[in-house]
Structures are given as structure tokens and as C-alpha cells.
Assembly symmetry: C2
């Protein structure tokens, strides 16, 4: 899933007893318009949505609330539309859960710099493992934690 029409989203939601709403469409739409590899926190998402709305309609009324943002993120993660990333401290980040999940992260524990890398073999391992356990996989993440070159050099820590 790299592109999903509003109608397709609606079907996906309705099939599970959920409803399609303007807010949910906007959230997914924004994620779909994001460049590959870009991820947002709940608050960044919220801020962006509001900014967009202001641009389009000059109305101050088109707000989506932060609570709804959180509720929507959870919903979409549980349906497999989004993936939740736990990178550096605190802020969780979200991104589209693309079909080929060969997109993982390398995080510096000292400065929080985050690098992305791909490794197609991981998805297979994940799929196989989950199958053995009877799980239906929605996401598969390999995260490496360490100290980056410049932090090692700076001998900080």
C-alpha cells in the first residue's frame, strides 16, 4: 500500500466496523504525501494538519484535535496502515507502513542521530517467525542502538 484512495480507506475501515471520517482521511492523506523515509510525531502531525487547513480555507475552524490525532494513530497502527517507531527518547514517530518492510533504523544513543537502512532479508525472517507463533504480522522493525562516529570521536560519554 503506497497509495490508498479515500474510498479504499473507507472500505478498509467499514469492513472492521469503523467509520470513515474527514479527520482519518486527512491523516492518512498526509502520510501518503510524505517523502519516503519521513516520519512524524503525533504533535508534528497535528501541527502540520492544522497548518495545511489554514492555508486551504482561511477558516480557523478546520481544526483536528490532538486527541483525535492520537486516537487515529493508534487505530491505523492496529490496522496495519501505519507503523510506530520508537527512536530516541520520548517522542514516538509514525510513518506509512509500506508493503516491503525493508526499512530499519540505526540510532545513536548519545546524540540521537537516526540513520535508515534497508535489508530485505529481515522481512522474511519476521514473516517466518510470526507464522510459527500464529501471529499475523503488521510490522517488522530492526533497530540498532549504538554510538555514532562523531560521538565516539568526541569521546563524549
Amino acid at each position: 500500500m503506497t497509495f490508498l484512495s479515500d474510498q479504499a480507506l473507507k472500505d478498509k475501515l467499514n469492513n472492521r466496523g469503523y467509520r470513515s471520517t474527514a479527520q482519518r482521511q486527512k491523516v492518512l492523506g498526509l502520510f501518503m504525501s510524505l517523502p519516503q523515509g519521513e516520519h512524524l510525531s503525533a504533535e508534528e502531525l497535528h501541527a502540520t494538519l492544522i497548518k495545511n487547513d489554514l492555508g486551504e480555507t482561511a477558516s480557523v475552524e478546520n481544526h483536528i484535535s490532538l486527541s483525535t490525532v492520537y486516537r487515529t494513530l493508534h487505530l491505523m497502527v492496529s490496522i496495519g496502515l501505519l507503523r510506530e517507531l520508537e527512536l530516541a527518547e520520548g517522542h514516538k514517530h509514525y510513518e506509512l507502513n509500506r508493503p516491503l518492510r525493508d526499512h530499519h533504523h540505526l540510532v545513536c544513543l548519545n546524540c540521537n542521530q537516526t540513520l535508515e537502512f534497508s535489508e530485505s532479508s529481515i522481512a522474511d525472517i519476521g514473516e517466518k517467525t510470526a507464522q510459527n507463533a500464529g501471529y499475523q504480522v503488521l510490522d517488522c522493525q530492526l533497530t540498532l542502538y549504538g554510538i555514532c562516529t562523531s560521538c565516539t570521536a568526541k569521546n563524549s560519554i
Copy 2:
């Protein structure tokens, strides 16, 4: 590292300009006494430490504060003694960072059940990737998110 004496811990800390304290020894000691695969949140760790102290000395004074627990956990993660797990919502969990990092997690997004599994090939992939990026790896985690058998059956969500 499956066992580390107080002296070894002290050296490890001193080498980096940190100091060895009773609190740090207790924290690491507790993790070393934990059965393989067991992990604790900061608050569980804190509660356990206090309970242990009470048992041993009947003194109510042997408390380690929650702040210190947090500070110690961060320190030990950054040194590579512990690994931080982000499993279900909120609570982060910690466990000893054993040399063979072939110990990963499978989490149900619905009921939060967590399964562990090993897959030795992952560590190699991680090591190789980190090396390319010039990182010094401290931890390597593959986490699979999905829906477990019983949740799928219950058709909840």
C-alpha cells in the same frame, strides 16, 4: 557479560569517568540475578530493590530513589550493560544486554502479549550494518508487531 563482579563494574565505570556506587551495584546485581528473558520497567525495578533492602536489613533507610533508578538505567544502557526494550505502550523495559544478542520480541498490538524468540542471523546483519555506518553497536533488536492467534480468533478489533 553474564556475570560481572562489583569490582569489574567499578572498573568499567571508572574507565569512563563514572563512579561506582552502592546503588549502581544493586541495580546491576538485580538484573544479573534475573532469570534469562525476564525484563523490568523502571518502577518495577525500583519496587523490587526496595523490597529486597527491607528484607535484608529491616532498615527503612536503604531506599534508592526513583530518580536514581532512571539515571542509572540510562547510564547503563549508554554503556551497553543493559538494553532498553520498547514493547507495549508506555512502560519501557530493561534487561541485561547479553553478548549474544539473538533474543528478540513479538508483540500483539491488541492485547500486548509478548513472546520472545531467537534468531542468530540478526546479530550478524546488525553488526555488519553498523560497521558500514561507522557505528559502534550496543544493541540490536528485531521487534515484530502483529495480532496474536487468540485476538484474531476473538475477532476483537
